[in-house]
């Protein structure tokens, strides 16, 4: 999870801001849904970076904080629909954790419009495409996430 995201490498078209979106997705539904978008040659914004996990239940809330800490402007969590979890109940854990963690995130100074949670199944390529476009546009409108900028460096000092 320690891929440091370097903002300088994003293509910046005539000075416009291109956000980095970190997506934590499960292997069985959303990852396969994103694959299907590719197989169907759909097109969506290039800002998303997917991290594949076995299940949304594997997502430690700290991953989300870490992503922001490392320069993400928005974070997306997506997995199987309720009842469809490959591991039967992992996404319920994720959902419960999400509800509790959301308030903490707000307390930690993160605009909730930067954080998205969704269910995308393996057959919902269109939903995935729409979701990425929507999240990217929304975060783009918010501008870069500056609150944590330099946090790591300061800590080191």
């Amino acid at each position: 999870m320690s891929a440091h995201i370097d903002k300088d490498e994003m293509p910046v078209a005539s000075g416009s801001f291109e956000p980095k979106i970190m997506a934590f997705v499960c292997n069985w539904c959303t990852y396969a849904g994103a694959d299907l978008a590719g197989t169907s040659r759909m097109e969506y914004r290039p800002n998303v970076r997917i991290i594949k996990l076995p299940c949304t239940g594997r997502i430690d809330p700290l991953f989300i904080l870490k992503a922001f800490e490392n320069g993400a402007d928005g974070v997306l969590v997506s997995g199987c629909h309720p009842g469809d979890c490959h591991y039967t109940t992992g996404n319920y854990h994720a959902r419960r954790r999400w509800i509790g963690f959301k308030s903490l995130m707000e307390f930690a100074g993160i605009d909730m419009r930067r954080l998205h949670f969704s269910w995308v199944s393996a057959s919902e390529a269109i939903k995935w495409v729409d979701l990425i476009n929507k999240v990217t546009d929304e975060v783009k409108a918010l501008g870069p996430f500056m609150e944590y900028k330099g946090l790591k460096e300061n800590e080191l000092e």
């Binding site: 694959d35 299907l36 097109e43 290039p46 996990l53 591991y87």
Partner: protein, 637 residues
């Protein structure tokens, strides 16, 4: 310092069209720890894999990354190649730069794709640096299969597995196996009688000593994993002792009560103690408890009086049976969309508007009319019949978006059957398009039109109503551009094929995926058509989507071959992606234990030399752990 190799695949032009693979490879070479990079036309090809193996050996690599297609495609291929070159296969990681990059970003200047590919590959390098070599887990396989659903697909799967020398339990919800195919009259495109080709297979399934039939039973609970499933089957009470019943039929004959027959789709009545149809397998009747006065009110009991071997037991209760199997084939089939949804066609309101399956029963020699086409209202032979296709299919607003696939063919068959049985009768078909792809299918439809005189009208029906004992069908003929009105004696609706009621809850019990129509998802639509994402569970037939008999049979056999392949070895190697406990920091909070959906975590005592317990820690059972990681995320320590 690690020694990492990065291989960037061009995938012909699939990746190279929008990603500068050379640039990606060059960029990766600058990352500390990366000692070898290259880009290649097809990494998955034999020369591609050779390049990879050679590079591992020559550069003494301890980890590799292949930036190529989705890991769901070729992760196995490259891990195998790595292993062949002496590298631990789990030191090989895939970056998905095709499905999730080159194919979804159509920027021909390659700027977008290249930047993203560089990013994604860098992420994988960081991941690889944290990897540890893993060893495959060996687990024993129980060489017994469970087939859910006793339609033609399930029967075929069971027979094939049994012929391969393995034991099979075939679970069927209804009192008899046979499924929807047992209802059909003749089958397209050969016009051979459905029961004539099905019943021998049903009997074969009953007599095969490797097959155990659990009819009138349903799967209640599924635990375990590939090779080691524990399945709880509810064996509904038949109120008849299966061991002693001889199938003489005396009880059915003497039963004084009649209710609507579900098998005959309401076209006929059956007794309360019944077998669904004469050729039922097993030929053992069941008592329909909610309708039986003896069971409900302790009145009657005629069947028990006439029963020679005294095998009727009104106190019999459902039994829960637990079976242990190594593989499961799901073949639960389809049903038709309820016609009541289509008020404009008069179903439910007009008695002589029936569904395609009901027409099958009318045309079947074992059906309520003995194979004569007589309309349900007054038993008159219809002089003209209107067939309406695509009722609910290809109709996103009122029905389903997909094509039900079998209706064009069975409607053509119906018109043939009708014209063969009612000489001088006129069949009209309202259709949207004729979809007759398949061996000898198009010729079959042409035959119905040209030889048997069915009148095909391209257009939709707007209204169906009764007038002077006739059914008036109003519709459009779009080819002549006119409105048509047909006086018919009977109307047959080719209603959409939909998933079985309760398909979703069964999928949830099995842990397999399904689409928005509740049809089960195959692992891969082209390359893994009968596998599911849950290892050891396979699919066959129309539980996956509308399917005709040849396809269902082919899939039954395909699923059986997968099961037999699994059973060919005593042990199978499992992916070693399981959770690990750090015994030093574990403080026995047992949060992981309660979170685990597989009960794979146990309490383990660490003892000193004298046998005193020093500490309790969690321990993961590698055979049971599926690697979901829920336990890892709940832990605080």
């Amino acid at each position: 310092m690690p020694r990492i190799g990065v291989f960037v695949c061009q995938c012909g032009n699939n990746i190279a069209a929008t990603v500068d693979t050379k640039k990606v490879a060059e960029e990766m070479a600058r990352i500390p720890g990366v000692v070898y990079t290259c880009d290649y036309k097809f990494m998955c090809s034999s020369p591609g894999q050779e390049t990879l193996k050679q590079a591992i050996k020559e550069n003494n690599l301890d980890g590799i990354i292949v930036s190529a297609c989705s890991p769901h495609m070729h992760e196995k291929t490259f891990r195998k190649a790595s292993e062949a070159a002496g590298l631990n296969p789990y030191q090989c990681e895939i970056t998905n730069i095709r499905e999730q990059c080159s194919w979804v970003h159509h920027d021909n200047t390659k700027a977008t794709g290249t930047v993203k590919s560089i990013d994604l590959t860098r992420m994988t390098i960081q991941r690889l640096k944290k990897n540890q070599p893993l060893k495959k887990i060996k687990i024993p396989v129980k060489k017994k299969a469970l087939v859910i659903g006793g339609g033609i697909a399930g029967i075929q799967a069971a027979l094939d597995i049994a012929e391969g020398g393995r034991e099979v339990i075939l679970v069927e919800k209804e009192p008899s196996i046979g499924g929807n195919m047992a209802r059909l009259s003749e089958t397209f495109p050969t016009m051979d009688c459905s029961q004539c080709i099905l019943t021998p297979k049903m009997v074969e399934a009953e007599l095969n000593e490797n097959i155990t039939l659990y009819t009138y039973s349903e799967v209640e609970k599924v635990d375990g994993y590939i090779g080691n499933f524990t399945v709880t089957v509810r064996r509904k009470s038949k109120y008849v002792d299966e061991e002693r019943c001889t199938g003489c039929g005396e009880c059915t004959e003497k039963c004084p009560f009649k209710v609507e027959s579900a098998f005959e789709l309401g076209l006929n009545k059956r007794k309360v103690i019944y077998t669904p149809f004469p050729q039922s397998v097993p030929n053992i009747p069941v008592i329909d408890a909610p309708n039986c006065p003896k069971i409900q009110k302790d009145k009657c009991g005629a069947c028990a009086i006439v029963c020679g071997p005294k095998c009727i037991d009104f106190k019999m209760e459902d039994k829960l049976e637990t079976v242990e199997v190594g593989a499961i084939v799901v073949a639960t089939g389809y049903q038709l969309m309820p016609n009541e949804r289509f008020g404009e066609y008069g179903y439910g309101r007009i008695k002589d508007v029936i569904s395609g399956l009901q027409f099958e029963r009318l045309a079947s020699s074992s059906g309520p009319t003995g194979g004569e086409i007589r309309r349900p209202s007054d038993g008159k032979v219809p002089e003209s019949v209107v067939f309406i296709q695509c009722v609910g299919s290809r109709d996103e607003k009122k029905g389903v978006s997909y094509c039900s696939k079998i209706c064009c063919m069975y409607t053509a068959k119906h018109t043939k059957l009708y014209s063969h049985k009612v000489h001088g009768g006129q069949a009209y078909v309202f259709y949207m398009d004729i979809r007759s792809g398949g061996k000898r299918y198009e010729e079959f439809v042409r035959g119905a039109i040209e030889h048997d005189g069915a009148m095909y009208l391209r257009g939709r029906v707007s209204r169906v109503y009764e007038k002077n004992g006739k059914i008036i069908v109003q519709g459009a003929d779009t080819l002549s551009g006119s409105q048509v009105e047909i006086e018919a004696d009977m109307v047959v609706l080719a209603t959409a094929v939909v998933s079985r009621e309760g398909a979703d809850s069964l999928a949830q019990r099995l842990g397999i995926g399904y689409d928005k129509h509740k049809f089960y998802n195959e692992y891969h639509p082209k390359l893994k058509p009968v596998e599911t994402v849950t290892a050891g569970i396979y699919l066959a037939g129309s539980c996956m989507g509308p399917m005709d008999i040849p396809d269902s049979v082919a899939q039954g056999s395909a699923a059986a071959s997968k099961v037999l392949a699994l059973f060919s070895a005593d042990e199978m190697a499992r992916e070693p992606i399981t959770s690990v406990v750090n015994k030093v920091t574990c403080n026995a909070c047992w949060d992981c234990l309660t979170a685990c959906p597989y009960t794979a975590i146990e309490r383990d005592a660490i003892k000193d030399r004298k046998g005193n317990i020093v500490k309790w820690v969690a321990r993961v059972n590698d055979g049971v752990c599926q690697g979901c990681g829920v336990c890892v995320a709940v832990k605080i320590h």
